[in-house]
Assembly symmetry: C2
């Protein structure tokens, strides 16, 4: 078979300068999250096909890279023609593996458990600028804490981390949007929509940022909902994005639509995160925030940064998912940052990782006698022990060009060793 | 479909203490290799099936996790019954991806290029203690340097790194074995074996450690080789492991069997590495070292550690492989450490990662008013800015048990906040 030198479609080869930047950001993420008590874990890249196809993953389930069965299993599957040729697949997110992991290892983990996961995920999506088929996700999750302390820690840790990362790019202004699935559903009920229509209504509300309240109204009409509900709903949403607190916004829902502690909880989360966050961070109740995944059961949140029209982090509470693996209900709340989007923004802003070590290159002419080489080795050993980077290389014929290239690579000190 | 809570066969879930140890070792590896001028790169986990099945991977090619084609491609492959249902697979090592990477990106990389790669690889092998189906490999390679400086840098960097890692376990004695495929072939030719039989002879020689020279002789006889060759070969190998230098060992091969610079080169490599390495490191010429992979063309080397009967690192020169991708010959030499084996040894020796930050937990009673929570947040912010880890958690009914568990997790300071 012929060799192919381009990488597989949508999967990037990372050059040394790319990896250096990414490694510096990984380090900042780990440090920031670790300061909030999150412990790093790792789940396998490969997951049972049954777990990946459990209808929790939404659209992502269509994008699974499936892995062929092997040996007899494969032969049998092929011969039976049942179509079940795959027994596993590459994970498309870190949430499904986390839920399985917690169900499998709960007895060995603290409760509540504050988990940090950084790893590749794979989706057979159409590649485009900034969207790859292999990409890194960074998630933090708190399992087994049903109090708003979970939300506060998750959001404060993420805001803290993003502040530190974006400071390098001179970007200091971003916004945390907070809402709650229970409020979204209560508002739809209050307006008079049928429960079976809530999902369709929320899919339309999700377009608020793009089409505004008038657009929402028009789409609801087009979808054929009753006018009275549409009127009441849009009237209710007139206060959205007016800087109104959650409790104030939800006052009409108090009458049986919404438990009172939901809105006060959101306001407390916002107050506490504001207390901890940097001045550039806006923390706001945003009742137009919907978020796509069906597994969210309570609070939902998202981060946006001034000047970019996509979110850079998103998460929420998903109290039902782990129980599906363990058979035992475990509440959970998580926040996932869009690592590749952050890298794209940093590169757009020409952020380069800080080089730390002093770098020396030693060029050795061909034919240099062993005794002279030993001297070079001794000196290199001492310099490396001293924290310096030393690269010993063969001298090229065009030494000037070689030295220029080394200086470009950050070697401030180039020494030449001749054979005599 | 039913949910499955155990991980996929042979793929481990890593607990927080596992990840902490691994992360601390990754850090040491990156620091040590970076001090020798190796630059970290990353290749995708998924590789073209054509590249994985190119006969370079030896036995590993039987262990590929293959990835199903998708959409129309899959339908067509299934209907045509041609059996080519996979278009790609998970990499089984980091060498094949590196060769492809260099061919694809050569113009953007320095020459010579000193690459460091750390990443997961996957093999559908039979799982057993210390052997997984997903595991980490750490490779360093120097591409485009045909001088022995490449071998010296690779071996010295690896010896340096291993010395630092194993010092934590109180293990300081290990051995670097160095040989050369050209010497192995020259010795077989000198003894009188036919060139077409060299591979079979070397497979037998590879068992030297287990069966000794008498065993080698018996196996060669059993394989039906001519007695004169067997006699001359075993006579020649009598000097193996006697501490003889390579040039001395190879003196009978000088007469047309081996280019003279091969043996002197090995002796210079050994002298230079000895100069740089720690006192506990033995660096020796070992003419019984064979190594399995067919792609090696020159020097080969391996590390063993006293008290363990498996190698912990292995590598060599493979000057032909990259040319198969790029169409242009590029010499290459690499060293790969057995990361999982190193972790196994460290765990056997009860090595735990050094905990750095002071850890404080704050337990908050349910019903604590927002105003009091804000005070907690302020104090936590200050402590985190000060480099401490602070975890804010809901207070449990059994507070004593909760505190004991936190102390076990390394929280030396536990503060309680009551609602009134």
């Amino acid at each position: 078979m012929a060799f192919i030198k381009t990488p597989v479609k949508g999967m990037p080869d990372l050059l040394p300068e790319d990896v250096a930047l990414r490694e510096s950001i990984f380090k900042m993420i780990k440090q920031a999250y670790s300061a909030y008590g999150f412990a790093q874990i790792e789940t396998p890249s490969i997951e049972h096909i049954e777990n990946l196809s459990n209808k929790q993953g939404g659209e992502n389930e269509k994008l699974i890279f499936k892995i062929l069965k092997r040996g007899e299993d494969f032969k049998n599957a092929l011969e039976s023609g049942s179509g079940e040729l795959a027994d596993s697949g590459l994970r498309y997110d870190l949430t499904v593996p986390l839920a399985r992991y917690y169900a499998a290892n709960q007895s060995k983990l603290p409760a509540p458990f504050k988990a940090m996961q950084i790893g590749n995920v794979w989706r057979a999506d159409k590649p485009q600028k900034g969207r790859f088929r292999q990409f890194v996700q960074c998630d933090i999750d708190i399992l087994g804490d049903d109090s708003i302390l979970a939300e506060i820690e998750l959001i404060a840790a993420t805001a803290d981390m993003l502040t530190k990362i974006f400071a390098q790019a001179g970007l200091s202004k971003f916004t945390v949007h907070i809402s709650d699935r229970r409020i979204l559903r209560a508002a739809a009920a209050y307006a008079g929509f049928e429960e079976c229509d809530f999902d369709r209504v929320l899919i339309i509300l999700d377009k608020y940022d793009k089409i505004g309240l008038e657009g929402i109204k028009a789409e609801l009409e087009k979808a054929g909902f009753v006018m009275s509900a549409i009127e009441k709903y849009t009237q209710f949403y007139k206060n959205a994005h007016k800087g109104v607190g959650c409790e104030e916004f939800c006052k009409y829902l108090a009458d049986g639509y919404l438990a009172p502690d939901v809105a006060t909880g959101i306001d407390t989360i916002i107050a506490c995160v504001k207390e901890m966050a940097d001045r550039g961070v806006t923390v706001m109740f945003d009742p137009t925030l919907v978020r796509g995944m069906s597994y969210y059961t309570g609070t939902i949140f998202e981060c946006t940064i001034d000047g970019y029209d996509f979110s850079i982090a998103g998460g929420g509470r998903y109290d039902k998912m782990i129980g599906q693996y363990s058979g035992q209900q475990v509440c959970a709340c998580g926040f996932s940052i869009g690592f590749e989007r952050i890298i794209t923004i940093l590169k757009d802003n020409k952020v380069a990782p800080a080089t730390t070590a002093e770098k020396r290159a030693v060029l050795i002419e061909k034919g240099t006698p062993p005794q002279k080489m030993l001297e070079v080795m001794r000196a290199a050993k001492a310099a490396r022990a001293d924290g310096k980077t030393v690269s010993i290389l063969p001298m090229k014929k065009n030494t000037k060009h070689q030295i220029d290239s080394l200086i470009e690579q950050g070697y401030s000190d180039v020494e030449r060793v001749y054979r005599s």
